[in-house]
Symmetry: C2
Subunit: 698 residues, 2 copies
Amino acid sequence: MDNYLAFFTLLGSILALGFALLQAKKVLKFDEGNERMIKLSGSIREGAMAYLTRQYKILIIFFVGMFVVLSIMAFFKLLTPFVPFAFITGGFFSGLSGFVGMNIATRANARTANACQEGLNKGLRVAFSAGSVMGFTVVGLGLLDISIWYLLLKMVFHLNLSDLTTTMLTFGMGASSMALFARVGGGIYTKAADVGADLVGKVEAGIPEDDPRNPAVIADNVGDNVGDVAGMGADLYESYVGSILSSCALGVIAFENSAALQVSAVAIPMAMAAIGVVASIFCTFLVKTGESIDQATLLKALRRGTNTSAISIAVIAFPLVYFVFGMEYIGLYFAIIAGLIAGVLIGFFTEYFTSDTYKPTQKLAGQSETGAATIIIGGVSLGMVSVAAPIVIIAICVMLAYGLAGGFSNGALGLYGIALAAVGMLSTLGITLATDAYGPIADNAGGIAEMAGLDPEVRRRTDALDSLGNTTAATGKGFAIGSAALTALALIASYVSKVQQIGGDSIKLDMSVMNPAVLVGIFIGASLPFIFAAMTMDSVGKAAQSIVVEVRRQFHEIKGLMEGEADPDYTKCVDLCTKASLHEMISPTVLAIVTPIVVGLVLGYNGVIGLLAGATATGFLLAIFMANSGGAWDNAKKYIEAGHFGGKGSDAHKAGVVGDTVGDPFKDTSGPSINILIKLLSMVSIVFAGLVVTFHIF
Amino acid sequence: MDNYLAFFTLLGSILALGFALLQAKKVLKFDEGNERMIKLSGSIREGAMAYLTRQYKILIIFFVGMFVVLSIMAFFKLLTPFVPFAFITGGFFSGLSGFVGMNIATRANARTANACQEGLNKGLRVAFSAGSVMGFTVVGLGLLDISIWYLLLKMVFHLNLSDLTTTMLTFGMGASSMALFARVGGGIYTKAADVGADLVGKVEAGIPEDDPRNPAVIADNVGDNVGDVAGMGADLYESYVGSILSSCALGVIAFENSAALQVSAVAIPMAMAAIGVVASIFCTFLVKTGESIDQATLLKALRRGTNTSAISIAVIAFPLVYFVFGMEYIGLYFAIIAGLIAGVLIGFFTEYFTSDTYKPTQKLAGQSETGAATIIIGGVSLGMVSVAAPIVIIAICVMLAYGLAGGFSNGALGLYGIALAAVGMLSTLGITLATDAYGPIADNAGGIAEMAGLDPEVRRRTDALDSLGNTTAATGKGFAIGSAALTALALIASYVSKVQQIGGDSIKLDMSVMNPAVLVGIFIGASLPFIFAAMTMDSVGKAAQSIVVEVRRQFHEIKGLMEGEADPDYTKCVDLCTKASLHEMISPTVLAIVTPIVVGLVLGYNGVIGLLAGATATGFLLAIFMANSGGAWDNAKKYIEAGHFGGKGSDAHKAGVVGDTVGDPFKDTSGPSINILIKLLSMVSIVFAGLVVTFHIF
């Protein structure tokens, strides 16, 4: 049965990739609009591609270096020989996901703007179809990577399921490293350009957003693509693959006494993923709208797709688990459902705290009336208090998934249940990612409409789509954070069993929080998300400062620029952002890779376990805090702009702009990168487990 | 020997209290200055006393309520019958420490201003002597409470050392509750008044700080006393007593096989405290300065006192440990020294990140040039990255204290070592607290000098003293946070042994981070400091808003106010602040008391252990982040005011003021309260251990 299973997964992969291809063709059939639009879209694409090319060049050095390190470790039997190759493929597919998604996004931006000339629904269709390309590419490549390796290790190398799943788990490290580079680099790029463009353009020169006279405007639009599209693609590829692989690994451990049940345990996460693909594909056809720009109506159109998809999966999963495992283990089904529901709930609370249709953000907007200081204090406080709901949801989800799976009589089963909850949460990824990735496309379309001087009605339509994108992005972040926490917990469990597997009887596991190594590990781990967030925020600041200087220079030196008689030098800003962000992405990622190794060598595997637990807990909290504070500030500003508390140009609005600018690196650079950080820490620990078990001080 | 010991501690207590009395008499001998100064000082004292009286009235209800709850629990044998009484005395002495400190501080403010008319050194002597009253009252009352209970339980009730120490530990809960109320209430008061006065006075009306025309100016000065003096006194009383009691309790456990060694184990922390008193008293005489207002010279004057005190204690502790324990356990001495050094190092790094004589704050000041948003991002990033050094220091300190005490062969000894490290860190409290408490007195003196229209030279002198106070306050915060983390760890260990003691063989301790109850506990615990910080910041915002409205009203309605022809209604603002802060202090404290009980009833004692570990780790990090961000913003503003980046009135300065205002609740309300929070959580858990062991779901 287990070979059929891999083919079934492969089939899911082919379906997803085929659907992505069809959607891409559909998007490309649309017209790009007039010459100016084509040129603008071309410039954005060029800038984005130039960035990615240079990023990949740097990353090749990193990946080759790591390949050599891992090969040496494999030579000394600290790793299986497959790991270096698995590492490379994980990184490659993660990068490819981002590349494909960004490629189509940069081709869809002008097409969306042009479609909006004809109507809102057409614009939504183009942007959403392009978003689907991204969504299904991520899912498809993830399943492709998994099924090929599965078949290879099983049929060519004849590994048993236990070795097979633990080997496959390690290619998560490649995917995570790639994702972290992409998220951090892209995140710095997009916010440096955004902040830089705003600080000089909007605040100092007083020209509107996306004004073609602003030298940083193309860089700003490039940023949406390299950060919000390519970065997010790599990120979610990693989440998706990580959740499936950790479930497989824990499933094999949970059923170590029965080879048949081990096969079933591996079957469930893979089949869930494949089913998710099918359900998501069907549900994309439910996404359509009328011509009203009312946000509630638009949101309903998208939610129809995602909710139907979630419900279908919940329904199909029951017979699946029953068929594979029988009634005895039906609790596993409820573990999956716990994850699915937790994801939806976290998404809802994210929306509640960040959308201006709810009280918290409206109240925050009101705090702008007493100045920038009070809206900042209010936003920080809003973000910090907003962790309460997700933490309770995750707490309940973990206890339920663990208990329902049977963890209280067999701990390993419980951990498998937690991993399955993450799979359940991410099973709708194809379509949720589509609704998420469409946002930056609509944002870009708005920019092009503005720069090409299209009818204001077009901009109104793209703005409606963009604004909706902010809401779906918030929900998407909720999913990403929630699944990251669950997957990270599953990975800690995988680490523990990896250590036991490597060290055998020599292992003295003492994971008690009263073991000082664990305790100190928790402290150090808990500090990592703080330090990491500080580094990435600082990088945005530095990169933005260089843009500010350049934009000021161009305003001064290029004659006739402000009068619209001369063109600014867009490429200079694009170039600066590229250089700065690529330079700045290195140290945070190195921190994430080096710390667990160093801590392991000093404090041993018990210390590493503490480190991972500490990092997961604070990482989860800090990610939610930063994402929600940032989202709320953004929407509070929009709420003021919509005419509340004095509207555009008032003192309250100025305070709102300060809040929004502070929120930019919070929500788009540091916050989302923390999700990847916590998983990369676990992945690195797993890959270097052999080294740490062999050498450590305490 | 053990009775002599208690008498020795009692002697230390009497020495400390006697010295405090002498210092108080010395302060009162100085002249209060002219009539206006006497009147101003009187108004401040009146406001402060009115606040404390009303606070105590509310707290009596709380303490009586808790007394009843605890008595009922004692009736059902869930507690020993001493606990309700111990709870009350802990709260009483904690409150008394704050009361005495504040009483003398409000009498020393005008005297300091008056002394500054004659010279800087005289001003320093008055303010520092008043600070010493506070320092030695805290230490003296702490030792008094400990020695009286010790003698009572030992000689009247004949408890054995094990029951005695665990009983005494529970009066920490009274002290912690009192401290949290005082810190939160006082912190909200002081910042609401400060922010409210600044927002309308400085920003809107354009009048200088401490201008007598500002209706909130007296409330602002009252705030310094109720927050920075009374709040801090209660806070450090709790830290001091907590560290000594947890060491005693863990010492008795560590040496459970030898009654003689148990006595020694209890002797060490008590004797260390008594020695600390003597060393601190002598070193206060080293604090004097010349007439130069140069900060480095002034700082040297204070540091001469604190450093000599630390070195003397380090020297005397060696023969002490040798005499009490012999060479076999001399490692305990090094555990104490590890704590002492860690405290000094954390203090240094706090100063490094927050003082404008170092790069980080200077760089932060520069970020004001691109506006409020960049200085906010920069400050958040500075605060977050500043956790790195303290976390490494605490990590090394914990490993050293554990290892040197012999933890790797006997875990209980290691935990005793960690507790002793906290005692070592706090042994110099008498004098460090004096250098800390003198700051708000100098601040008040400056306010009085300004309002009474004294010679600008006087204000320059009080400003120099105040500015120095900011630096010592930063160092003091480092100590408070560091010792809180160590004490909290010791309290977790005490909790574990308490649970074992109560439940006996029925206890199934599984403190592994892979136990879902522990894991979920860690997650919930880690979220508490975030939620708590959000609540307290929000309270400051709400209370400040009410002050803003009132100050605006008075500016409008009182004719001739701005021309100096009519007096504002100070008492209205004082009253508003009092009401608001007393109202707002309730919910955060209730959260701290209820959560560990609820989590315990649901997740059991294993869940509580996770909760405490999670809360301690993030609490430590968040406290440092918030204190350092706030301190750096404050000093960055001062750095700009000193003439950098355009100086006073420039755009950079405006941005700096925004940063400072955001930092106010960070550093003076939320940050310092978190230290108490993490200890109160442990204390509540310990007191309610009987309930949780008897009833719990998982």
